[in-house]
Amino acid sequence: MIGRDRCAMHVLIVEDDAKIAEFVARGFREAGFRTTRAADGEDGLLQAQHGSFDAAIVDIMLPKMDGLELIRRLRASGNKLPVVVLSARSSVDARIAGLEAGGDDYVSKPFSIAEVIVRVQTVLRRASADPETVLRAGDLEMDLVTHKVSRAGESVRLQPLEYQLLEYLMRNKGRVISKTTILERVWDCSFDPHTNIVETRVCRLRDKIDKGHDVKHIRTVVGFGYVLE
């Protein structure tokens, strides 16, 4: 996501595992961000306070100062830097604690890089002043106010689950969204089914949006999820 002034967004990655930090940084650079890394909580706090970052990703388990403490101190000093917390899934408390400490969103480990990017883009969007009311991708249009969806001018009728899914895919155009994300984030379902309920809905959505058109918007990335382009 490139900022309005064509200057790349700068993200601070506070993570002590060198490989994870490197992979995440690479993912963000591919997505057009600039990245800086801090390997412990103290350094992370210093950088967050004195650097010029647009957002930060903070791991909870850090040496010298844990992620929650970092965020608390950051917020206590009046700093409103958007923060995405990396938490362990098995602990709902850890997630809640992250948000209560002042984090804006969370990603559980193990995460997909694409998902971290999506979360960062989401918090950046929230932090920016103007909310969009119409989402567009090529000749596909979605009006968030009237809830009308159309492709090449022709109206498309979607069921609620399909509508929610399309909105999420369009808001995160170009990012691969996993089935788990779709279940947990889009449809608010904490159950991971073995039957392919996500695939079936995507199929339905494709039938309504892509069928009969040469350009297909929704693409499957085997093993990883779906992306709207």
């Binding site: 602990s91 449809w187 379902c189 159950f191 991971d192 089914p193 073995h194 039957t195 093993g223």
Partner: protein, 263 residues
């Protein structure tokens, strides 16, 4: 000191009471000790089994990934294919780990978040909506009998979703094309309990298999070729038990199966 016969009788009485009391105390102590040791041994055995189970089920995806990686190193498999394979296997490993952790925590009555008032009716509605398209594709009819209002329970939304989801998942999976899955949710007036019945006209479960149904990792022959890890019903049982409820199964092979959950 002058001791009368009176005193002698009292002294004897106290002695008898004392001895009896000591005996009772000793027996009680022994029984309690034995019970604690048994529970401890059982817990250790379960922990042992749990580690064995997890290790066993993780070895398969690990083996697959390793094999594919070897082939990729030899040039037999493209990087793209390897990436897809690794992503799929790691997803299923993660799901297994998460489910096992949830299962043991639920079983050990560890609740990591507070119970809240959750509307069971809306969860059943939500989960049946998820499965509607799968059922439709498979030409399995869904018959719903849900209450108009709410049925509130003090529980965890995620666990109730898992409970309902697993039952629906099985019902749809094991019902062949042309069959029916019926979901009924009611409140029993006498007990105030919620009663959820998920019925299917599927392949059914034999009597011998019904005994093993709720065991972790147990899978019937018919289920082995279908997606799943054998934990679904174990999860259902653990959740239902942790909320003080019950789950029963009645089935006839070739006719269908009904699961009834009372919460």
């Amino acid at each position: 000191m002058y001791l009368s016969e009176h005193t002698l009788v009292w002294a004897l009485a106290f002695n008898v009471v004392g001895i009896v009391g000591a005996a009772v105390g000793f027996v009680a102590f022994f029984l309690a000790y034995r019970s604690i040791r048994r529970r401890h041994a059982k817990a250790m055995q379960e922990l042992h089994d749990l580690s064995d189970d997890i290790a066993h089920d993780l070895r398969t995806p690990l083996t697959r990934m390793r094999a594919q990686a070897e082939l990729a190193a030899m040039g037999d498999v493209s990087a793209q294919e390897l990436a897809a394979g690794v992503a799929e296997e790691t997803t299923s490993m993660l799901e297994l780990i998460n489910t096992m952790l949830d299962l043991s925590q639920t079983g050990a009555r560890i609740e990591r978040s507070p119970r809240m008032d959750v509307d069971l009716a809306s969860i059943v509605r939500q989960m049946t909506e998820f499965y509607a398209s799968v059922a439709e594709d498979k030409r399995v009819a869904f018959i719903l009998d849900l209450p108009e209002g709410e049925i509130i329970r003090s529980a965890h939304k995620a666990k109730l979703q898992q409970l309902v989801g697993n039952l629906l998942d099985n019902a749809v999976k094991f019902t062949p094309s042309g069959g029916t899955v019926s979901v009924t949710l009611t409140k029993e007036p006498e007990t105030g309990l919620a009663r959820l019945a998920v019925s299917d006209t599927g392949i059914g479960i034999s009597e011998e298999d019904q005994v093993n149904l709720f065991k972790r990792f147990w899978r019937s022959d018919a289920s082995r070729s279908l997606p799943g890890n054998g934990l679904g019903l174990a999860v259902v049982k653990a959740i239902v038990t942790s909320y003080g409820g019950s789950v029963t199964c009645t089935s006839r092979p070739g006719v269908g199966t009904t699961f009834v959950v009372k919460l």
